[in-house]
């Protein structure tokens, strides 16, 4: 006599029928797995995407820059300047420094930059800049020359203006040696900047020699402070930042504080680790809740469907046929939950990246593995209920 069988195709159709006979409950059971897998995919995707953004934003320009701040002046109630006159020269001696310059915003209280005396002034930022600043900041000239040591040491009333400021001041050419008035003081425009990638305010403002600014308006006002921008070789920024305050003010390096750009690899690792440890824990909890949900629902289904189990046994099903059917149902629940969760996770990643104008980065292996992980969770969650179902005695099952 041939043995009783449960063909794979029959198992599939019976499994689907089992799930669809209570679609609402099946859908609710999926939720835990959907949330867990969805959170997992979203977290990994966002983590990868965020790391990618960090990589993009912390580019070589940022990685070769050190900002030294006059922290002593920032905390002082009096206008003061803790950078010595030869600060840039001292900084340039540090190994790994390409160029440096001191700057601060000149303490003008009113909008006083104009191209004609007596006319209403424009509210343009006026920057006091040491000779090396514009070189260190990577400023590119549209025409003319940059501020230099000559202008500085001779305290010449000259100015270099940004292209936007030039347009506002109606200066299109240096051919006629145009002049502007800052706080009523005349300045000859010697250069027009095309762009300055590091100091944004130079693009739409005016730069004048440090010595002139000090002479006319004194040091930075109380509560503000001068800064030094140091352009370093790639990889030297951290070391330069550590050495700069001592090199510039060996008598009292605490007056200065230097900030190097964050270490890219370290930052990425930190961000990834923080995100992963926090959100993956949440995803893990969701997955456990999902697994418990599947196990619970499957166990309830086993108890509710005892009569069906008894009937199937009477019709020739072996205990393993019963167990496999319930195991298939729980696995399918996990698999479907994983599929939906992976889809929602991808949508979440895309939503966040579109919102932030980022580039989405998501390892396709994660997306493919997510439904499988869901299936494995469903499989594990279904083991106990399946064992219970297969161990059910047919007579007892039929009696329920």
């Amino acid at each position: 006599m041939p043995l009783s069988r449960l063909r794979l195709r029959d198992l599939g159709s019976e499994m689907l029928a089992g799930l669809l006979q209570r679609p609402g409950r099946s859908a609710l059971t999926l939720l835990g797995t959907v949330l867990g897998i969805g959170a997992f995919v979203a977290i990994v995707g966002l983590s990868q995407t965020a790391s990618g953004q960090i990589g993009k934003q912390f580019n070589a320009l940022d990685a070769t820059q050190v900002i030294v701040t006059d922290s002593g002046a920032a905390q002082s109630q009096q206008p003061m300047l803790d950078f010595p006159a030869d600060a840039a020269t001292l900084a340039d001696r540090i190994h790994g420094v390409i160029g440096s310059g001191v700057w601060w915003t000149v303490p003008l209280t009113r909008a006083t930059v104009t191209s004609l005396p007596g006319r209403g002034g424009l509210g343009l930022p006026v920057t006091a800049a040491s000779p090396g600043l514009l070189t260190a900041s990577g400023a590119r000239l549209a025409s003319g020359v940059l501020l230099n040591q000559f202008y500085e040491s001779h305290a010449q009333n000259v100015a270099v203006i940004g292209r936007t400021a030039a347009a506002q001041l109606h200066i299109s050419s240096l051919a006629n040696t145009p002049a502007i008035f800052i706080g009523g003081q005349p300045f000859t425009v010697v250069g027009i900047l095309a762009a300055d990638p590091r100091l944004a305010q130079l693009n739409f403002g005016v730069a004048i020699p440090e010595s002139v600014a000090l002479h006319l308006w004194g040091p930075p006002s109380a509560g503000t402070s001068a800064q030094m921008l140091i352009h370093t070789r790639l990889g030297a920024a951290t070391v330069v930042a550590a050495q700069a305050p001592i090199a510039i003010r060996p008598d009292n390096p605490r007056l200065l504080s230097a900030a190097a750009p964050p270490n890219l690899a370290h930052l990425q690792h930190t961000v990834t680790t923080n995100l992963n440890s926090l959100f993956l824990a949440l995803a893990g909890i969701s997955l456990v809740v999902g697994a418990v949900g599947i196990a619970n629902t499957t166990l309830v289904a086993v108890l509710e469907r005892a009569g069906e189990i008894g009937l199937r046994r009477a019709l020739g099903a072996r205990p393993r046929h019963i167990g496999i059917q319930f195991l298939a149902e729980s696995t399918a629940l996990g698999l479907f939950g994983g599929l939906i969760g992976a889809g929602l996770g991808v949508v979440a990643v895309l939503g966040v990246t579109v919102e932030h104008h980022w580039t989405a980065l998501l390892d396709p292996r994660i997306v493919l593995a997510a439904p499988i992980a869901g299936g494995v969770i469903g499989l594990l969650a279904g083991i106990y209920p399946a064992l219970r179902a297969s161990a059910m005695e047919p007579v007892e099952a039929l009696r329920r």
């Binding site: 009783s4 009477a314 019709l315």
Partner: protein, 245 residues
């Protein structure tokens, strides 16, 4: 105590007894001998708790006796593995239950087809054979109705079609009219009698004298023992007898 009839035996019980383990242990069936022959229509009667359903469960291989030997078509089933017993249930035995045991989310024909899965009937034959079984019990037109849309009698007809669809050598009916009104009871009794006329071997557990009256042989159980020969109809080989010893 032995009840026998002449001919080729489908079921042979030799000293079969059953004791529920308890505690305390309850002797549901005292050791008994019973032979049912191919083509017989046997009714088992008795009060509630007398052991009728226990006897049917043992004969249907849904449970194992605690004493004695059960043969089906000459094979000892008491010592057989579960896979063998499952195979016999799938191919040789059809069950009809008092509570119908139809799956509520499946149509009549799908309920009938459920029995074909474990008997490994090829898929392409299933629907056709299930429809034929439904037609045999007069329900071809209700094949696509859900059980909730069927009357009690119709549900039991679906259950009978499911029991018949694999052409088993034995049909076991446990109170098949227990949930039906008197009119429908008559219809089901007629249907079972017709199946017997067509050659089926039936063992029917029933309280109902009208249903039992349609059986050629009636035996009684009381307090777990075969107590009497209730009646003796003509046996399959011309009436040699069922008797009690």
């Amino acid at each position: 105590m032995t009840v026998t009839a002449a001919g080729e035996p489908v079921i042979r019980l030799s000293g079969v007894g059953y004791t529920y383990p308890g505690p305390p242990p309850v002797r549901a069936l005292l050791p008994m001998n019973l032979v049912i022959f191919r083509g017989e229509h046997v009714a088992v009667m008795g009060p509630s708790g007398s052991g009728k359903s226990t006897l049917l469960n043992l004969v249907g291989l849904l449970d194992r006796p605690t004493a004695g030997r059960i043969e089906i078509n000459g094979t000892d089933m008491g010592a057989a593995s579960e896979r063998t017993r499952a195979a016999v249930r799938a191919h040789e035995i059809g069950f009809v239950f008092q509570a119908f045991h139809l799956l509520p989310h499946r149509t009549a024909v799908e309920n009938v087809m459920l029995a074909q899965i474990y008997a490994d009937i090829p898929r392409h034959r299933r629907r056709e054979e299930a429809m034929a079984a439904l037609a045999h019990v007069g329900l071809a037109k209700r094949a696509h109705a859900l059980p909730t849309a069927l009357s009690g009698g119709e549900r039991q007809r679906v259950a009978i079609a499911r029991a018949l669809v694999n052409s088993p050598s034995l049909l076991l009916c446990d109170e098949p009219t227990g949930n039906l009104d008197s009119g429908t009871t008559g219809e089901i009794a007629d249907l079972l009698a017709a199946l017997h006329e067509a050659g089926a071997t039936l063992l029917v557990i029933t309280h109902n004298p009208a249903v039992a009256g349609r059986a050629a042989r009636r035996i009684a159980i009381r307090d777990g023992r075969l107590v009497d020969r209730v009646d003796r109809g003509p046996g399959p080989e011309g009436g040699q007898g069922a008797f009690v010893t």
